[in-house]
Symmetry: C2
Subunit: 286 residues, 2 copies
């Protein structure tokens, strides 16, 4: 039985609830972050908190009073649930004003909702999926226009994941105006002639915390990085491909729409970046 | 203190909650309907239930077991809360599988969540807003691509409502590729030379239950109806404009982006359609 956190209280997971009037439930008016735990310590915590602040700011949401304590709450959840490797999920919503209205509630009278829980993933960094590489399919990107804000409007990514599973793949890459935006819960990359290519930041994609770290490590290692949109055809003709996310780290993509990428095995760039990322992140973990 | 309905139980509103693992809360994986009550009776109940079934079907969601009883639950909520005029909100989500995962939970083990509550609106059909007409502004339509499914992904419509309020207007009309899609929670219409123009059905807009009824009554009254997309410029040059929704019925729009539409007062077509709609719906109410 997990211990989770809801609005100042640590509770058994089966007793953790929010009001039916919570705007996260009625209107998807909430944002989230997922922070990885390795060896009991938090990976890139500051990065996730900085993005959380940005998401809240973009939506004119106030920071919950508990924000000063977020690091303590993360650590207490790790301790209480004896997490060695795993994830900590955090969600903030505009709160439960007691009724439903499209207009935002007055922040003076409606406190934000803060929910956090852990997911234990023993052996997360040694995932067999990452060693084998994953298959992806391409689907249309039907999401809203502000994917840079990490909102809980995840119905379409969830549908995309199901389309992938039905097709015998692990994930879907979304395509808009002929170019790949990103995966359902990760950023997408190809490698061609030693050059790492990934979509440039904007409102079209999530500003991945793992993306930022991986590109920094790649540049420090003198790898060439090109931030621009690429097509599915380019991806099929690439030497290798991979995704990044807080929980997948760097994971090779070996198949796109049924066609092998490169020689159909995890490529050296993805493997090297995964190693560097995990090494550096373990060193900096808090 | 309202009595609300949550998964088979009638509860005081302050005790009504859902699990933090509910997919409505974590992933906006839910759909909803709002049915109007006039004189204690339900308006176009069958229309709302048919659309609910369609929304569930489009998302591969199972119908809650309580579906056979939905009319009874609606009526019990009207009775328990002594609603004369008002709304009944109904939300179905894919349920609370006990953890967070992009993949859909197995419907054999995870029951959908069904939440319903009332909103009392005394004098709803005699709203002064409808008599005066409303002002709207135009904003970009940034919503996802399946607006024909009535999901709880309402963050952008909610943001649009706030943009309207800040601009001194009551609502926003959303524009995509140069053409109006709809209002934040209503369908949009203009009238030019006696012809009623409103966007044709597709994935771009909600298939309004009130829209269907109003167009039927308009055609029965030998009015000309043209279902096609129109531009903001066309709307500014229109003789009149209006919106329809379950709670606004037919409400005139008198101002768009600060420019008066027609003579800046509610027009005769909107007023007549509102009267016909209310008359016919009262007759057919159950």
């Amino acid at each position: 039985m997990r211990t989770v956190y809801v609005n100042g209280e640590y509770l058994p997971e089966t007793q953790a609830s929010v009001s039916i009037f919570d705007r996260g439930f009625l209107m998807a008016d909430g944002v989230y972050e997922v922070t990885t735990v390795l060896d009991g310590r938090l990976i890139d915590f500051d990065g996730h908190m900085a993005r959380l602040e940005r998401s809240l700011c973009e939506l004119d949401m106030t920071k919950p009073a508990q924000f000063d304590d977020l690091l303590d709450i993360h650590r207490e959840l790790v301790r209480a649930n004896a997490i060695t490797d795993g994830l900590i999920y955090l969600q903030v919503t505009r709160g439960a004003p007691g009724d439903r209205d499209f207009a935002f509630p007055d922040p003076a009278t409606t406190e934000p909702t803060l929910v956090m829980f852990t997911q234990s993933k023993p052996g997360l960094p040694d995932s067999p999926t990452a060693a084998a590489g994953i298959k992806v399919i391409s689907i249309d990107d039907l999401r809203w226009g502000r994917r840079d804000i990490k909102t809980v409007q995840l119905l379409y990514p969830s549908m995309g994941k199901m389309m992938a599973l039905k097709a015998g793949a692990e994930d879907a890459w979304m395509v808009e105006d002929g170019h790949v935006t990103e995966g359902t819960s990760n950023n997408a990359y190809i490698v061609k002639d030693g050059r790492i290519i990934t979509r440039d930041l904007g409102t079209d994609i999530l500003h991945g915390i793992t993306r930022a770290a991986v590109l920094r490590f790649a540049r420090e290692a003198q790898m060439e990085v090109e931030e621009r949109a690429f097509t599915i055809d380019e991806a099929k003709a690439a030497d290798e491909a991979f995704i990044t996310s807080a929980s997948a780290f760097v994971t090779p993509v070996i198949d796109l729409d049924g066609a092998a990428i490169g020689d159909g095995r995890p490529g050296p760039v993805a493997q090297r970046l995964r190693e560097v990322y995990l090494d550096e992140m373990r060193k900096a973990a808090i």
